[in-house]
């Protein structure tokens, strides 16, 4: 204990070292004065008295120094000495220091940049009370398409989960709603809103800044005409009026009483912040899945325990309600991960990528240090001969590498700040990740960078230090001048080069797979004509245009007006435009044919289109016909299918005239007949092979859909027609809200933006890795050649041709690269599989990609070895012989 106390006192005194030093000087001066006084009293002359006092003390400076050692932190002197020495050697060889620091700055900087993004998106606590205990509980739906882990939940299931799962302290649910808010007479706008269970605010641990939260009984339909405003809505739409409570707001043409205003930064959806909250009325339909569930775990309960608990509850519900709950399961995810969504995977992949870059950087610096150690053998030997212990030498070398790491870390912090800004700017443009915009170089990032710098300093420093410090004294002193032991680069360095080649190949493979996907997308024709097509996204307010009776006239009127515009070649409505990211699928029966499996029906992508859709899009009809104006609400139900669907479902005959039964409700289904087979179109993504697709006529579909796309084919570039089309839609029905208007080229560019971003990011880091690995190989071969200059001279003198020498040296480099590539391919096959979840259409182990990537790497290896090989071949045989 006392020793600890003394150590703390010493460490503390390091801070006020100057003052302590002065105090010791003072004390010793006072000591001498007292002694001199006594001596003079004993009869000495002042001079004698002083001399005697100093001698008896044992020398003033010596005593002072001994005291200083007591005051300073332990090892302070030695380490200071090491640091000064290290700085001096770096200054003598600035090229080495600069290379090492730059390499490290790049490695550490990239890692810290991605960490700062991860910190903002995944690590920083959510702005709710005790956010670590909050989880999102999704529904799991198993269908023919696969498993959807992020499905919605029905109200009765939510209530049962909440009441039966003991691991949940509380739970709330919400549904996203687009609400039409009348802000002034005749003026309405569509806003994002949420219907929430009254419990939800309590689950999150938040209270309105003004007014009250919802009362528990406000989930009764009669009492639910109340609304809580977001701070943003309150400020922007109501001018921040403090007397707003009790006033009414027209929402979906119904008056709602304002009872509260939330705090400025509160949003449930961090990505797309909602404007209004209304109570969610109780809903008794067990198979109406429309809710998101947020729950608070009991104290000291993990998400995993809650998952097990809910699995049990779901099994119980499946037994109790087999008709609706067969196969319904729950999926518990920490709320912070749920909010980050797909951005989480992308960030983690990027973090793995930069970690590899950092590893390569470390390897390079370690290799540099080893090379430097070899040239310093003599220095080490001399120091050892003069009495420096092995530990002392290792410490000296470690101080050097730590110094490099610290310098690299400081430079890396600037690199990180710069990279993080660029990353946030690029990503926000393409694929907004919630909370990514809050990326800052904060305390945690600095702490992380410090930790990484120190760790790297030790990681890349220890092995070289041990190797370099254990030089054989005799050997080194005898022939440090020209080494025969260094005839081959040491095994450790060769191992390092193999490792970094392998790592670089893994990154290149990842970048290659992503780029391949992008190239595939570029090279794949979408299957329809993309020129001169205007795309209008419309929102159909549920109150006005939800029922078929009110929608059909709008479709007819809008199409008639738009088609009549000069310069318009055709126009059609469609629910999900190809490549827009929207897609849906349905299951159906084929009459007279058994289902593929019990409880598993036929399944296909489903879309809804108006008359002349295929003609407007430029999709060829292979057989049968397009939707015509005669396919109306009363006419027999017809569908058009794509070629893949025709081949899949009716492989042995023409699909025309074949029927399907599409279930509308549990009891009722409609019979639809195939009237046309259209060419395949890339709907989900350019790199995703076509799936079977079924088009239902927009005037015959009972399905309620809120957003719809109007495609307008024009004679010329469509930008001139934007205003005319807008006006035509407004004339057809003022209720339809125009969300946005683009050209199809813009839609396609948007669908490629994300793959382009990923291949750009991973590609940039992979190139950095490749350059680092090439530099590492170049350094190793150069070093080896320099060490063997003598040998090369002799070989030439004995008759070896220059090209033989080049081949010899090249062989050494390429052999290492080949081993590294082989290991890298194995690693790459495993690693690229992680990319599959990133976007649709990724093919992880594409042989061509791996061949191209491996050849690129080997070409770089040849280049990196060729330069030193040429140097070796230029060795002067005379100089070598003279030295002999």
């Amino acid at each position: 204990m006392r020793a600890v106390r003394a150590l703390i006192a010493r460490l503390a005194s390091a801070v006020q070292f100057g003052r302590r030093d002065l105090e010791i000087q003072d004390e010793l001066a006072s000591h001498l004065q007292l002694h001199i006084d006594d001596n003079i009293r004993a009869g000495m002359t002042p001079d004698e008295a002083r001399r005697d006092a100093v001698i008896t003390l044992g020398g003033l400076t010596q005593t002072q120094e001994r005291c200083r050692q007591r005051v300073r932190p332990p090892f302070f002197d030695v380490i200071k000495q090491d640091v000064i020495y290290a700085v001096r050697t770096f200054r003598r060889n600035p090229g080495f220091a600069a290379t090492a620091i730059l390499t490290l700055a790049l490695g550490i900087g990239s890692t810290s940049a991605i960490f700062s993004a991860i910190n903002a998106v995944l690590l920083r606590p959510l702005p709710f009370a005790d956010p670590a205990r909050l989880v999102m509980v999704y529904g799991v739906a198993r269908s023919a398409r696969g498993v959807d882990m992020h499905d919605s939940v029905s109200y009765p299931n939510f209530a049962d989960w909440r009441d039966r799962a003991a691991t949940l302290e509380s739970a709330g649910a919400y549904a996203n709603r687009a609400l039409t808010v009348t802000t002034a007479p005749g003026e309405s706008r569509v806003l994002r809103g949420k219907q929430v269970t009254p419990s939800l605010f309590g689950v999150l641990g938040v209270r309105p800044a003004l007014g009250r939260a919802f009362r528990p009984d406000e989930d009764q339909p009669a009492l639910s005409r109340v609304v809580i405003l977001s701070h943003g809505f309150w400020r922007q739409q109501l001018g921040g009026d403090p007397h707003v409570l009790g006033r009414t707001l027209q929402i979906n043409d119904t008056p709602f009483v304002i009872v509260g205003v939330m705090a400025p930064d509160f949003h449930i959806d961090v990505a797309e912040s909602e404007q209004l909250y209304a109570p969610l009325p109780v809903d008794a339909t067990r198979n109406h899945e429309f809710l998101r569930v947020i729950a608070r775990l009991q104290r000291d309960t993990s998400a995993r325990q809650a998952q097990a608990d809910l699995d049990e509850v779901c099994r119980h519900l499946a037994r109790t309600y087999p008709r609706t709950n067969e196969g319904v399961a729950a999926n518990v995810e920490p709320l912070v991960d749920a909010i980050a969504g797909p951005g989480r995977l992308a960030l983690l992949i990027l973090f793995a990528v930069v970690t590899v870059v950092l590893l390569i950087a470390c390897t390079n610096v370690a290799s540099l240090l080893l090379a430097r150690g070899a040239t310093r053998q003599r220095e080490m030997a001399v120091r050892a001969a003069l009495g420096a212990g092995r530990g002392r030498l290792v410490r000296q070398l470690l101080v050097e590498s730590l110094l490099l790491a610290v310098a690299g870390g400081i430079a890396g912090l600037f690199v990180a700040e710069w990279l993080a800004r660029g990353l946030v700017a690029i990503v926000s443009d393409v694929a907004p990740v919630p909370r990514l915009d809050t990326t800052r170089t904060d305390m945690w990032v600095v702490a992380f960078t410090t930790l990484v710098s120190m760790t790297t300093g030790i990681v890349f420093g220890v092995a070289p230090a041990l190797v370099s410090a254990s030089t054989d004294l005799n050997e080194a002193l005898r022939d440090a001048g020209r080494s025969s032991t260094g005839a081959r680069a040491p095994r450790l360095r060769r191992g390092l080069v193999v490792m970094e080649t392998a790592l670089a190949l893994v990154l290149l493979a990842g970048a290659g797979v992503l780029t391949k996907t992008l190239l595939t997308m570029r090279a794949t024709p979408p299957g329809f004509s993309t020129e001169n097509l205007l795309v209008v996204d419309l929102y159909m307010p549920p109150t006005r245009l939800s029922a078929l009776e009110s929608r059909a006239p709008f479709f007819d009127a809008a199409l008639a007006r738009v088609r009549a515009l000069p310069g318009v070649r055709g126009a059609a409505f469609v629910a999900d435009l190809p490549l827009s990211g929207a897609s849906d699928s349905e299951s159906f029966h084929i009459p007279g044919r058994p289902d593929p499996a019990p409880n598993r029906w036929f399944n296909a992508g489903f879309n809804i289109a108006s008359s002349h859709y295929f003609q407007t899009m430029g999709i060829r009809i292979r057989e049968g016909r397009d939707f015509e104006d005669s396919d109306t609400t009363g006419a027999p139900g017809v569908i058009v299918i794509n070629q893949t669907a025709a081949k899949r479902f009716w492989p042995d005959r023409s699909a025309i005239g074949q029927p399907i039964d599409l279930p509308i409700t549990r009891e009722k289904s409609v019979r639809l007949t195939v009237v046309g087979v259209a060419d395949d179109v890339r709907h989900v993504g350019l790199a995703v092979p076509p799936r079977p697709e079924v088009f239902v006529n927009s005037l015959q579909s009972e399905l309620s859909w809120a957003s719809v796309v109007l495609a307008v084919r024009t004679a010329d570039h469509p930008s001139g027609l934007v205003d005319a089309v807008k006006a035509a839609i407004h004339e057809a029905d003022t209720g339809a809200v125009l969300v946005r208007i683009n050209t199809l080229d813009q839609v396609i560019a948007r669908s490629m933006a994300q793959p382009r971003l990923y291949s750009l990011l991973v590609g940039a880091f992979a190139v950095a890795a490749l350059v680092l690995a090439a530099v590492g190989l170049y350094g190793l071969i150069s070093f080896s050649v320099a060490q063997r200059a003598h040998e090369m001279g002799i070989r030439i003198a004995l008759g070896a041709s220059r090209s033989e020498i080049v081949r010899l040296v090249l062989g050494e480099g390429v052999a290492l690269a080949v081993v590294g590539t082989a290991i890298g391919i194995a690693g790459g096959l495993a690693a690229t599989r992680a990319l599959v979840g990133l976007m649709a259409g990724i093919q992880p182990n594409d042989p061509l990609t791996f061949v191209v990537v491996a050849l690129t790497l080997l070409a770089c290896a040849v280049l990196a070895s060729y330069v030193p090989a040429r140097r070796a071949a230029a060795a002067d045989p005379l100089a070598a012989l003279r030295a002999e």
Binding site: R2, A3, R5, A6, A9, R10, E23, I24, D26, E27, L28, S30, H31, Q33, L34, H35, D37, T56, L57, G58, G59, Q62, T63, R66, C67, Q69, R70, V71
Partner: protein
């Protein structure tokens, strides 16, 4: 030997402070020299690192003051922890010397 010297010196310092009360470094050094009847003649300077160590360990505390003949000097005094430590150390030292003395004493019987 250096370790033994360090340990015993610390003990001597503590004992001196216990006997004489607050005292400056010069006084302590002087006193130790006198008590050992000049058998121990070491540099006075060695006392200062020992004092620093004892102070860091919290056994003694220091304060600037004025000496008998009006000189400024740093005075050390024993802390409570120091007093306890001295007691403990003195006892263990006595035991050690006793054992050693018995060991080294000329045998009387057999």
């Amino acid at each position: 030997m250096a370790d033994v010297w360090q340990g015993t010196l610390a003990l001597m310092v503590l004992k001196t402070l216990e006997g004489l009360g607050p005292l400056h470094g010069y006084g302590i050094a002087r006193r130790i020299e006198q008590t050992s009847s000049n058998h121990l003649s070491v540099n006075y300077g060695t006392i200062y690192p020992a004092l620093l160590k004892l102070e860091q360990e919290g056994y003694i505390a220091s304060e600037w003051g004025v000496s008998d003949n009006n000189r400024r000097a740093k005075f050390y005094r024993l802390t409570r922890a120091g007093r306890k430590h001295l007691e403990r150390e003195a006892r263990s030292w006595e035991r050690t010397t006793e054992i050693l003395a018995r060991f080294l004493a000329p045998r009387e019987t057999s």
